[in-house]
């Protein structure tokens, strides 16, 4: 059988030399829901130990990007490498804070039990949550400052406290790379402060955090690396270099007419 490509061809490999030290390397990633592309040809390399803000308008595919990195939505094309390996081999290195609204807070569990869920991956099948895991969960609650609410049922917590429970659950995962989906959305001032100091603490410990963020006013204060996203990556780099008027205009202002046009056509073909 004739193959179109074989080893004799020389490919230009622009991937980094030591992939193990790169927390997140995304190559040519496209994700589509029902034929409608949500993110398009995303190329991204995130260096170790950065606080990364992912910023873009509504529907820019920020949440989808985080989900695609963790195999939660099928990739249409492309690949994602976490510390140089596919996600399924690196689950233990990744912590996840989903959007707060994504779950039902009326669920009959306590704050401590939700946080302990972060350790389930390490506990494995059938075994119960043990003393060790409970201690880990309690410590995580302490780090976000609500250890006194450990036994509260989660519907009795305020929005900010619920957000902290989610953060604590990610802490209990004891990861190197954290994906956080809008942790600052609709939280009180005290929680915002607590989250910021937690991010700095994680950063100080050499962890990498990818944080979807909405408030442009605080971007420069919170993050040292920035990804501007609107279906594709508009810019990615140190905040000081990337956070420019021109880039923001590209991200938020005006429609990216050509890309939209193509997406529209694809949708019509699909019908």
């Amino acid at each position: 059988m004739k193959s179109f490509v074989d080893n004799r061809h020389q490919f230009v490999d622009d991937r980094p030399e030591h992939p193990d030290s790169i927390p997140l390397a995304i190559h040519d990633l496209t994700v589509a829901y029902h034929r409608k592309p949500v993110i398009w040809d995303v190329e991204l390399n995130i260096p170790e130990g950065k606080l990364v803000g992912v910023v873009g308008p509504n529907g820019a595919g920020k949440s989808t990007l985080l989900k695609a990195c963790q195999d939660l939505v099928p990739k249409t094309s492309g690949e994602v490498q976490i510390y140089g390996a596919p996600y399924r081999d690196r689950r233990g290195d990744v912590g996840y804070v989903p959007q707060r609204e994504s779950v039902d807070w009326d669920f009959p569990v306590s704050a401590l039990e939700v946080v302990a869920m972060g350790t389930y991956g390490k506990i494995g099948w059938f075994r119960r949550v043990g003393k060790l895991q409970k201690r880990v969960a309690r410590e995580a609650l302490e780090r976000v400052g609500i250890e006194h609410l450990a036994d509260r049922q989660i519907s009795q917590l305020s929005g900010g406290q619920q957000q902290r429970v989610f953060l604590a659950r990610a802490l209990a995962q004891d990861a190197r790379l954290y994906f956080m989906d809008e942790p600052f959305a609709a939280v009180d001032a005290a929680t915002e402060e607590a989250i910021v100091s937690l991010l700095k603490e994680l950063n100080g410990a050499g962890k990498t955090c990818l944080v979807v963020h909405h408030d442009l006013a605080s971007v420069t204060r919170y993050f040292d690396w920035l990804v501007l996203l609107n279906m594709r990556v508009v810019a990615s780099g140190p905040t000081g270099e990337v956070f420019t008027r021109e880039n923001l205009q590209k991200t938020y202002g005006g429609k990216l007419s050509l890309l939209d046009d193509v997406a529209d056509r694809l949708r019509h073909v699909g019908r």
């Binding site: 963790q70 689950r91 569990v109 306590s110 869920m117 099948w125 049922q153």
Partner: protein, 491 residues
């Protein structure tokens, strides 16, 4: 006897959750038995014999129904928490064509077509097919769960009805009795049916206990579960498998129309009593079991009543009781909490009003506020109270020893009342200050919000507010109000 035990337990056990539930159940049981002693009801000793399984005829049916109740209570808990309550309904209706298929195949193979395991096997296969179809429709189209379930439910049941008609016209086959699977006939159960139900109940209990952690995670946060590498689809299908097993073995006893009530009622009733999933699971099993036991006992005492229907009605009684009395989220406990809060708010408003009037009467800021009698006229003018409201508040304050005797037309705080008034006013001011400083609220708008929130402030929050507001006094001194208090028009 039971009634007495129940009453004693009610007195002894004023705790929450399981104990309280058992107490109420005893009361129900007692009432049923006491009622059964009336003349036109079956004789009391006979009722007792039936309920305690001493009659051979009904023993098997009662035990089977109770076991089925336990299994469906547990399986239903996960169904409910996964927000798939109606999946049980789609599933049970989807079993109908399977019964026809099972019959058809067995007749074609030369049997009489009524062999129960064969029929249940057929029911299982189309039931599973129905569930898979719901999942497939949901995953491949834009349709949501409810629409997918509605489609599957209707189409499968319609197909089943058509198929039943066709097989009943087969030459040489007697399909009479197949339609009993729609409403169920528990009285026709034999010991092998009981063993099957026992087996399924054991399986459901075992799976629920072994996979409790996994099921909980998937029900609560599917994405997070998937991100940790848990096979969410497999766990989902396992949960639905338990529901399928319960549904299929329940077909004979309760029928495919009512099985949904078996699955959902115990779980929803249990939710009223607790905020802990494990307790909820145990309670749902207990309630399902109790409903099955009592319901089938009643139906065997009144032979004309269909078992499934009576069980569902008994379960409905348990549900209504839970809805009314369940301490976690029942209607009455919630109303009681609301009344208590309103009383607390009323008391705090009264004490603070008196304190603020005293402040107004003693303008010298260097001097501490002294506890003097206050004219009732000032008090009426201070807030928009009606006279009857104010009288009620004052009477309550008197019974709480917050007021001392004073001359006609005046009120005077007691020592305790004055201390309480100072504490409440201080908390209120601290909260107002906090809001002004941190929440960007104009001072003139603060009081309303502070009124609502101060009533839930505990010592810890007060301490936090004090440290947030550096430079504020830490002693029992009350900071001045940040806004103007109109002594005559209310604040």
């Amino acid at each position: 006897m039971m009634l007495r035990i129940g009453c004693v337990m009610l007195v002894v056990n004023r705790g929450k959750g399981l104990g309280f539930f058992l107490t109420v159940m005893f009361l129900v049981l007692g009432t049923v038995i006491a009622g059964a002693q009336e003349s036109f009801w079956p004789e009391g000793s006979y009722v007792w014999k039936v309920i305690t399984l001493q009659t051979y005829n009904s023993r098997l049916v009662i035990l089977s129904s109770a076991l089925l109740g336990v299994a469906s209570g547990m399986a239903g808990t996960f169904l409910l928490l996964r927000k798939r309550s109606l999946m049980g309904d789609a599933l049970s209706h989807a079993t109908y064509p399977g019964i026809g298929f099972g019959f058809l195949v067995m007749v074609l193979l030369g049997g009489d077509g009524k062999w129960l395991p064969g029929l249940l096997l057929g029911a299982t296969s189309t039931g599973v097919l129905g569930v898979l179809m719901v999942v497939a429709i949901r995953n491949t189209t834009c349709l949501k769960n409810d629409a997918a379930m509605g489609i599957v439910l209707g189409v499968f049941f319609g197909f089943g009805a058509a198929l039943m008609r066709m097989v009943s016209d087969l030459p040489g086959a007697d399909a009479a009795g197949l339609d009993s699977f729609i409403y169920g006939t528990a009285a026709s159960m034999v010991s092998s049916d009981f063993l099957l139900i026992l087996l399924v109940t054991g399986g459901v209990c075992l799976a629920s206990l072994l996979l409790l952690k996994e099921f909980t995670l998937v029900c609560f946060d599917e994405d997070f579960a998937a991100s940790q590498g848990w096979p969410t689809l497999f766990l989902d299908l396992t949960m639905l498998g338990l529901v399928t097993a319960v549904t299929v073995v329940g077909l004979q006893a309760v029928g495919l129309v009512l099985i949904i009530a078996f699955l959902i009622i115990p779980a929803t009733a249990a939710r009223f009593w607790t905020d802990d999933l494990r307790v909820m699971l145990a309670l749902a099993a207990l309630m399902g079991g109790a409903g099955g036991w009592l319901g089938s006992s009643l139906s065997s005492l009144f032979m004309d009543l269909p078992t499934g229907a009576v069980i569902v009605l008994v379960s409905a009684c348990i549900f209504v009781m839970s809805m009314l009395f369940g301490p976690a989220r029942g209607v009455l406990p919630r109303a009681l909490r609301h009344v208590r809060l309103r009383r607390k708010v009323g008391r705090q408003h009264l004490l603070r009003a008196i304190y603020e009037i005293l402040e107004g009467q003693q303008p010298d800021v260097a001097e501490p506020i002294r506890n003097l009698p206050v004219d009732l006229a000032f008090l009426v003018a201070h807030r928009s109270w009606s006279l009857s409201e104010l009288n009620l508040l004052l009477r309550r304050a008197q019974t709480e020893d917050h007021l001392e005797d004073a001359i006609e037309g005046q009120v005077r705080l007691s020592e305790a009342g004055f201390g309480e008034a100072a504490r409440i006013t201080r908390n209120h001011r601290l909260w107002e200050l906090y809001l002004i400083r941190y929440a960007d609220i104009a001072p003139s708008h603060v009081d309303r919000d502070a009124d609502l929130v101060e009533h839930v402030l505990d010592a810890e929050v007060v301490g936090q507010l004090e440290s947030e507001l550096q430079g504020r006094p830490l002693s029992l001194e009350v900071p001045p109000s940040p806004h103007f208090i109109d002594q005559h028009a209310g604040s």
